[in-house]
Structures are given as structure tokens and as C-alpha cells.
């Protein structure tokens, strides 16, 4: 091959680079390892982490069972090693699956349109906020303090440098739902969006219908965020929202120390031109057969550059496929039964502990630790190979001696009894 090019050494391939930009040293990276050594290295790292612990952490990342078929499908080379489906004729597999994904997200959320995915729930939130600003022509954002604290931090990072005022409003210390009066006070004629989460960070379900009415009365859009997608199998869908921004990690996506996950944005039909991210649409091929392709690309960066709705390009296609397979496997009946199991487990434990908030909850709740500190309780639980709940004062200084606990279908009765005992209940 070198002969064909007319060179004698590989080094000549970059001989045209100026001397000062060429790297003459050797990279300080150990020489190449065998497959066995690589597997062993990561096996040892895995052993340094928690292994086979029962886990009562939620807070945006949930321990749900992952059906075996999910990895079987996403390990198919034709899904795993293909690029973004720009060449529709040889990408119908990916395109069809995304079309089904978009359809199922609409069915679950009650929205008209859903995109092909966002990086995760946290980055979907500022994208939804900017979308609302484009739609309303307004600049202010009002966000409930019951939205995931890290999602709010991401919203702050994205908006700060564009001079967008973001105002937070309070929750009701009795119910754990957002405080409607506090919300009313921060809304004004410049509010583009009210952002709430349901079930919220405390696990409490918000009255989205009422909140939507109040937001709309001020000419603002309602952006509804969800972090626990399984709740959609049981709870009234957020059809009163204008934009839904969510995280699908609960749909067979492993916790994996926080990623990769898959976010989505769904919305009312009339807002589709302001939606960020990829969209798959139905059409026909030259023989008149049904076919799918990426569409409405004039919203996107590769066509519109600085005038695009977002800079997003690569999204989370393979992770969204995991969620697609999950939704197909569980289906109409399974998602309901799964959600009901989560509800039953959480109420089994929740009703035995001193819960801080009285609002309706799905599979997470805030428990007061009483005279003990959260660390004492969690330390004791670790002795039983149980990872306890999240200390809330980390994000809410006013909520001392409180932990956020989550019970999914994977929480066993014996482990929940052990947790109750550690709380002294």
C-alpha cells in the first residue's frame, strides 16, 4: 500500500506536518493488554465497588429488573455497530424501532409528538425550557424546588450565560407537593415556562392539572419532568402539560453509576417545529411500501447551524432501543402490574416509617430518622449488605434527619423489614 502511494515508511504519511506539532515522545500508556488482562482489570475494579447489595436508593436512578431479551437485542451488531440512520434505505431497522419508540412515549405521556431521545433527563430540562422560550417569546423560567436538584443545577448552567432569569418556588412542608401560592407569586408576564416534576424529588405526586391551569392563566407553558418512568404505567398521564421532559432509565437501563441513560422531550403537536433532537417520520419508498426516515431536519444543527433549535447531534439511540424492547416486553398489562408492585412495596415500608410528607407517593418517600442520624442507620444497614436511603440535607439543608427511600419490585420483604428495624419501627 505504501508503494501505491509512493512512500517508503508510515512516518512519511505525516511528514508534511510542521516539526513543532509532531509528537516525538512515547505516550505514557502501558503497552497493549490482552483480552484476558482487560477483563481481569475491570473484574477487580467491579469487586472494589458494592456488589450484590440490596439497594433503597432512588433519586433519579432506580433499581429495576432488566429482562434478558433487552441485551440480546441491543447486542445485535446491526443495531450496535450502525451509525445515525441518515441513509434510510439501509437503516430501516433502526428507523422503525425509533418510530415505535416515539409512538409508545406518546401513548404513555399523552403527548402528540416525542423525539428520538435526548442525552438524559437532566439535559432535557434546559432544552425544554429553551423550547418554551422560543414558543412564548418570553424569557423567564419558574422551577419548583421539588424538581431533582441536579436537574435544576443543569438548568442553571445552561441558562446563566444567556441571561435567562430562573426563579425557584417552594414546596408545602405538609404535603411535600409544590406550594401553589409560592408558585403564583413568582409567575409574571415574562414567565415562559413553569417546570415541575411528578412524582417529584420527594416521591410525591403533583396535581399537574391544577398547576397547568395556573400556568396557562399567566400565559406560561407547563413543562412536566419525570425521573421514574415506571410511574407512567399507573399514574394519570401528564396530558395537561405542554412539554414533557423525562428520563427513561427505569426502562431496563442499568444504573451504571449514572449513565448512559436516555432522556426524551414530548410535546403538543403545535410545538413540533420547536422540538430539539431527531425525529423519525413515516413515508413510502419508490415501490409504494411503507418506509421510515429522519425528518423535519430543518430544526437541526447540521442544516440550520447557529439558528438550530439545539446543538444536539448524537443522542442515545441504543439506550432508547433498550427502553423500546422493555416497553414491548412488559406491554399494556405488564407495565401496570410492575407499577402496582412498586406502589405496594413502597407503601409496605412507607406506612411503617415516619414519613415527612402526607401527599400521595408512588415508589419513593421521605422518612424521618428520629433520634438517630441517617448515617447511623445506613451504617447499620450496610452490615446486612443493604444500601440505605439518600440523606436529604445534602440538597435540602432544612430537611435534617431525613432520607429519601425507594422501593422497586426488586426490594424484598425481608430487606424492607430490615430497613424498618434499623429505623426502630
Amino acid at each position: 500500500m505504501l508503494d501505491t502511494i509512493g512512500l517508503s515508511t508510515l512516518e512519511e504519511l505525516y511528514a508534511h506536518l510542521p516539526e513543532d506539532v509532531r509528537f516525538h515522545g512515547a505516550l505514557n500508556i502501558p503497552s497493549g493488554k490482552s483480552e484476558y488482562e482487560i477483563i481481569d482489570y475491570f473484574r477487580v475494579r467491579g469487586h472494589e465497588n458494592a456488589n450484590s447489595h440490596a439497594n433503597f436508593l432512588g433519586a433519579g436512578v432506580y433499581h429495576h429488573y432488566r429482562p434478558v431479551l433487552v441485551d440480546t437485542v441491543v447486542s445485535r451488531a446491526e443495531f450496535l455497530t450502525s451509525y445515525t440512520p441518515y441513509q434510510a434505505e439501509i437503516s430501516q431497522g433502526t428507523l422503525t424501532a425509533i418510530f415505535e419508540f416515539q409512538t409508545m412515549i406518546c401513548q404513555l405521556t399523552g403527548m402528540d409528538v416525542a423525539n428520538a431521545s435526548m442525552y438524559d433527563g437532566s439535559t432535557a430540562v434546559p432544552e425544554a425550557a429553551m423550547m418554551a422560550m422560543r414558543i412564548t417569546g418570553r424569557e423567564g423560567i419558574a422551577v419548583a424546588r421539588t424538581v431533582h436538584p441536579e436537574y435544576r443545577e443543569v438548568l442553571g448552567t445552561y441558562t446563566r450565560h444567556q441571561g435567562v432569569p430562573v426563579t425557584e418556588f417552594e414546596y408545602d412542608p405538609e404535603s411535600g407537593q409544590l406550594d401553589l401560592e409560592s408558585m403564583e407569586q413568582v409567575l409574571n408576564e415574562n414567565t415562559a415556562a413553569v417546570i415541575i416534576q411528578s412524582p417529584n424529588f420527594f416521591g410525591v405526586i403533583e396535581d399537574a392539572k391544577r398547576i397547568a391551569e395556573m400556568a396557562h392563566a399567566k400565559g406560561a407553558l407547563l413543562v412536566l419532568v419525570f425521573t421514574e418512568a415506571v410511574s407512567l404505567g399507573l399514574l394519570e398521564p401528564p396530558r395537561d402539560a405542554d412539554i414533557v421532559a423525562g428520563e427513561l432509565q427505569s426502562f431496563a437501563i442499568a444504573p451504571s453509576y449514572g449513565g448512559p441513560f436516555a432522556g426524551i422531550i414530548a410535546c403538543k403537536e403545535k410545538y413540533v417545529r420547536q422540538l430539539p433532537g431527531r425525529l423519525v417520520g413515516e413515508t413510502k419508498d419508490a415501490s409504494g411500501n411503507r418506509a421510515f426516515c429522519l425528518t423535519l431536519a430543518t430544526r437541526e444543527q447540521h442544516i440550520r447551524r447557529e439558528k438550530a433549535t439545539s446543538n444536539i447531534c448524537t443522542n442515545q439511540a441504543l439506550i432508547a432501543l433498550m427502553a423500546t424492547v422493555f416497553m414491548a416486553l412488559y406491554g399494556k398489562q405488564g407495565l401496570r402490574e410492575l407499577a402496582e408492585q412498586n406502589l405496594a412495596k413502597a407503601h409496605y415500608l412507607g406506612e411503617r416509617l415516619w414519613r415527612r410528607f402526607k401527599g400521595p407517593y408512588f415508589n419513593e418517600f421521605v422518612a424521618a430518622t428520629g433520634v438517630q442520624s441517617p448515617d447511623e442507620i445506613n451504617h447499620r444497614l450496610l452490615g446486612f449488605q443493604i444500601v440505605g436511603g439518600l440523606r436529604l440535607d445534602r440538597f435540602y439543608p432544612e430537611l435534617g434527619n431525613s432520607v429519601l427511600l425507594c422501593c422497586t419490585e426488586m426490594a424484598s420483604r425481608a430487606d424492607m423489614d430490615a430497613v424498618a428495624e434499623a429505623f426502630g419501627a
Binding site: 502511494i5 429482562p67 443495531f79 437532566s122 448512559p260 446543538n311 448524537t314 398489562q333
Partner: protein, 484 residues
Amino acid sequence: MITKVRQHPTQNESLLFETSSPGKIGYQLPALDVPPVDPSEVLGAEYVREEIPDFPEVSEVDVIRHFTRLSTWNYAIDLGLYPLGSCTMKYNPRVNEAVARTEGLMWIHPYQPDALSQGAFAILAELERVLAEITGMDAVTLQPAAGAHGELTGILLVRALLEAQGNPRKRVIVPDSAHGTNPASVRMAGYEVVNVASNDRGMLDTEALARMVDDDVAAIMITNPNTLGVFEEHIIEVARILHSKGALVYMDGANLNALAGISRPGDYGVDLMHLNLHKTFSTPHGGGGPGSGPVAVKKPLEPFLPLPRLQHASSGWSWNYDRPHSIGRVRAFYGNFGVLVRALAYIMAHGGNGLRRATLDALLNANYLRKLLETDYEIAYSAPSMHECVFRHAATGAIAKRLIDYGFHPYTVSFPLIVHGAMMIEPTETESKQELDLFVDALISIAQEVKESPELVQTAPHSTRTNKVDEVAAARKPILKWTR
């Protein structure tokens, strides 16, 4: 009606919603070991939904057959050459998939105590170290979820540094050959975009650049090698021009596959850059993600990196949130950890020397293709090619579709925008001489067809189960979900 209209391996495939029948299931949950609760009772009936309309009702066999059949409608790297320029479609070693599914890595919760995540910290720390080594930079954040997310993070870092110096400035310069994410990211970071034209060699015009850079310019975003596959030979001069006015040099590392082991941007004036782990470091593209877009920076930018940062003490690793100058969080948790694991596995398999060798092989393959295709296709710029080469042909779109009939994925079509009729070809180091020769034969044959039977090329592809897809109709009347 007979729905199975084609022969067995190429049968049509219905959508899940169309094969559903009431009561069919594909799951089994364990028996509930606690008392059931009545949702309406514990939540209030107003919070409980009716059944999900038209949601699938299918069996496990239905599911595996459906998705397996769908998969056969896709092209993939594992089927052959995938020469998309600037996309770096290289082989995805399966050991990387295996290690990412290690139980102690896959099932760890981001909020579990740091003491129970020490293995994860060790992986992240080592990856930060090797990426800094490869780029010649001082510090790395692994947070960004993809290249474009890295760009946004990077420009926010630029803003934070300049703001700390008293003036964030107003504009960022972007060459007209740049990927569309660059200007879009600049705008999201609150800057105006100024486009700068390339010269007749396909490189930045340093004289024009010098005239553009003033005290309002915050940075330049430069892709190197650029999207023509050409190394910006005046990169040192570019950096000098920007630095002399107090502005920064941001490098888009999309094309790092041309540089790893032979050139380190941090050594010659680049202040910060992002990397695409799903390109250079071979984490699977997965039909459009997940990616990962770490940002590597020189020391002055380090205090501004996103929260949280790794820190090490005698008690072990932990997360540091006490970083008053940080731009803040760019996403929840700590990045696309599963992708980071795969990238480190790839780097370990290669080692320092192996990364360099992979780069040289990528350069060899691109230059070999260029040489063999030069007679039949017009090279867009005569400057030497690095890891990809760009030709021009008025029929680039049709030729790309015709390549499918020859068993290949098309090259990148009509990009970069500055080349009319661009054919952007990046073979990567993955390909053997045999595969490259077949590809060359195909393109030369198509060049003949364009002259002798243009109709055949214009109506391609002819061999696919789905032939030419009407994208115009899709956009005119969007159908974005299935309805009954």
C-alpha cells in the same frame, strides 16, 4: 391478503402495534411478597390512569422475532466498510461490551457511598489521565454526554475564564468548514458566531483571521484536521494570533483519529478541546448514541471545569463539589460511565504504541484510497490528506446511493458545505487492503455508470428491500407516530 410478500429472509415486518392482540404478554413478575394496595385508595382516583391506549400486547417470541427481523434491515460496521467522513466508524471490540456489563460496574448507583464506588473512581481517574496524556492537556472532565455537549461545555469554560478576567467578550470565530454543532454550541453559550472562510488550500486564512480578531473575540473553534481531512498547518500561528488578543483556541477533536500518538494539540497552543469517545476510542455508535464528549483543558481553565471533580485523599477517592469557580453541572451524575468504561478498555488494549500505530494505519488507508480514486474523481483540495479525503462530484448523492448496491455504506454526502458535491471518505484503520480495493473497484465502476447509464445511478439503490425513500413527502406531511 398475503402479507409475507417476499421470500422468507426478507419478509415484511409489521409494527408492534399491528401484531398486538389483547391479553398477550411477554413478561413474568415474581409473586408480590407484600400485601397488594388499591391504587385509587392510596393515591386518590384522580391520580390513577385508565389503561394505556394501544400500548403493545405481544409475547416474548413476538418481541425477539420483531427486533431480530428489524435488525436485518440495517447496514453495520460488522457487515463491511462504513466510510462516513468525520464519523470514524471503526470496529467495536466486543471485549469492551463484556467489561461494561461487569456486575460491579453495571449495577452501581451514583449516590451510593463513595467508599462503595472506589473501583469506579479508579477507572475514571485512569481515563482522565490517559486522555490528558494523548491530548497533551493538563486536566480532563468526563461529564459531557456527546461531542456537541462537550462543545457547549468547552465554550462555557471559555466564557468563565474570560469573565473571571473581567470581560466575557462577544464573539466566537467558526470556520465555514466546521460541523454544524460548532455554531449551534456557540450560540447556546451566549456568543455570536462569526464565520471565517477557508483559503484555496482548504485551510484557515491566517491573514484574514488576524484582521478579524479583536478584543471582542472570545475564541476560535477549530477542527484539526479539519473536515476536509487537511491538517491546519498554521495552527501555531492561529494560536499566536488569538492569544495575542487574549482570546482562546478551542479545538473540535472529532478528527483525533488522525492525531493520537503523533501530535498532541496541548503541545502547540490549543487551550481546550473535546474528544468523541464514540469515534476515536471506538465505543459503539449504536444507531446514533450513546456517545461521550470529554473536554481536555490547559491549567488556567481547570478551576472552571464542571462539577463534581475527582479527588483523592488517604481515605480514598471521593467527589469534590467545593469548586467555587466551576461553570456548574452540565448533566446529572458523572457522565456516561458505561461508555467511559468501554473507552478505557479500548485504550488499554492498544497501549501508547498501539494507539500511534492505529493512527498511522488510518492515515495509510485514507491516502491509499485517495491515490486509487484520484484518476476517476476530482479531489476537492490538493493539500495532503490525513485520515480522510474529500472528492467532489455533481452526482455525489446518487453515487452514494449506488454504492449501497455494491454492498457498501455511502460516504458522507454534501459535507463539508464549502465543497460543492462533496464526497467525504474516512476508511479508518479497521479496513484491510482487500476491503479497500473492493470499495475502489465499486467507485470506479460507478464513475463509468454515471457516464454510460446515468439513469441506473440516479434511481439507486436497486438491491435493497426498501428502495429509494421519499424524504420530501415525510417532511411535507409529518407522520411521527403510529395511530390506529
